[in-house]
């Protein structure tokens, strides 16, 4: 496997697309959670679920891509930072899959199946169960907030490398170029 100084265009596209969906999905989710029943609430739930399922699909693609392509080498940094950065990356992958999956489980348990883009009804993962739904919605919320804080940490670290260490950490994820060695 070749090693390059920046991420592949597929990885870059998936990274920024997923970050955009996390931002919108989280905002809608946090807003709709405390709403009273209304047509807007029903709509927002639908959009939130579509975004979540999209993130789940993109995250799976991204994980497969990541396992098939070695990421660019780390910039020089202390060992603890390296460990923290890679730990955060794998935690993000796990949360990108676990959070929407838990939301899907919650939808099934609450008796509101997911109909992706109003077109495709996804199978229920569990049967309707009010008590289980109450637990799953809490877990889903906890995972979403954890995801948010890890994203904040991940972004803050990238900005620190960019503006204070002035290294290539962030630029590896901003370079839109076909595989080559020009960045070396």
């Amino acid at each position: 496997v070749e090693q390059r100084a920046h991420y592949t265009r597929t990885a870059v596209a998936l990274h920024w697309l997923i970050s955009l969906f996390i931002a919108t999905g989280f905002t809608i989710g946090a807003y709709m959670a405390d709403m009273h029943v209304s047509p807007l609430k029903v709509r927002l739930f639908a959009y939130h679920k579509w975004i979540g399922i999209t993130i789940l699909g993109l995250a799976v693609l991204r994980l497969i891509w990541r396992l098939m392509h070695r990421p660019p080498p780390d910039e020089p940094m202390p060992a603890w930072q390296r460990v923290a950065a890679h730990g955060a990356h794998w935690l993000l992958y796990a949360l990108l899959i676990a959070t929407p999956l838990c939301g899907w489980l919650y939808s099934s348990a609450a008796g509101f199946p997911v109909v992706y883009l109003k077109l495709f009804q996804l199978p229920d993962l569990v049967s309707k169960n009010e008590a289980l739904a109450k637990v799953l919605v809490e877990v889903h919320g906890f995972l979403a907030w954890t995801l948010l804080w890890v994203v904040v940490l991940h972004a803050a670290a990238a900005l620190k490398h960019h503006f204070f260490d002035r290294d290539r950490t962030l630029r590896r994820m901003l370079t839109w170029r076909a595989p080559d060695m020009r960045d070396r």
Partner: protein, 182 residues
Amino acid sequence: MNRNALTLIGTLTVATAFVATAAGDPTINAAKSTIVVTFKQENVPVNASFKSFNGRVDYDPAKPNASKAAIELETGSFDMGSADYNSEVKKKNWLDSGTYPKASFISTSVKPGAAGHFDATGTLTLKGKSQTLTVPVTATQNGTTTVFEGSLEISRAYFGLGDAEWKDVVDDKVRIRFHLVE
């Protein structure tokens, strides 16, 4: 006698009184029967059920033409499995359970079909509006009990269920499926 027992007797008396005037004493085993409502919101099928209902079906396989059915349910017993939605549905712009606590279907004529099948024509009364509907019913004899199954589709707009703001979110058509054990 404690208060709960008195309330129970009161409820039973009221429930029995209505159906009795409509078609005689209730014969349905409500504990084993279900009335399930399915509607679509943003194309998502959602099931709910009425927890409290009663009624009677007089059915003789030998004389299906003489069959009669009278079902009554409590609109306030609508259960979607979510307290927030349940209280919403009882409000004025939906079932308005305060003003219209009961809904009923009373048959007026029965047309027998193939063995065990018949079409029951009758009046559905809901939220102060009535509609004549024909419901295909399947009757299955099961030892000493008979199970009546079927479904009917109603229009939310016709019965004034949900105001205009819900028009684009919840489908107009609502399906009611019943499984009545007698």
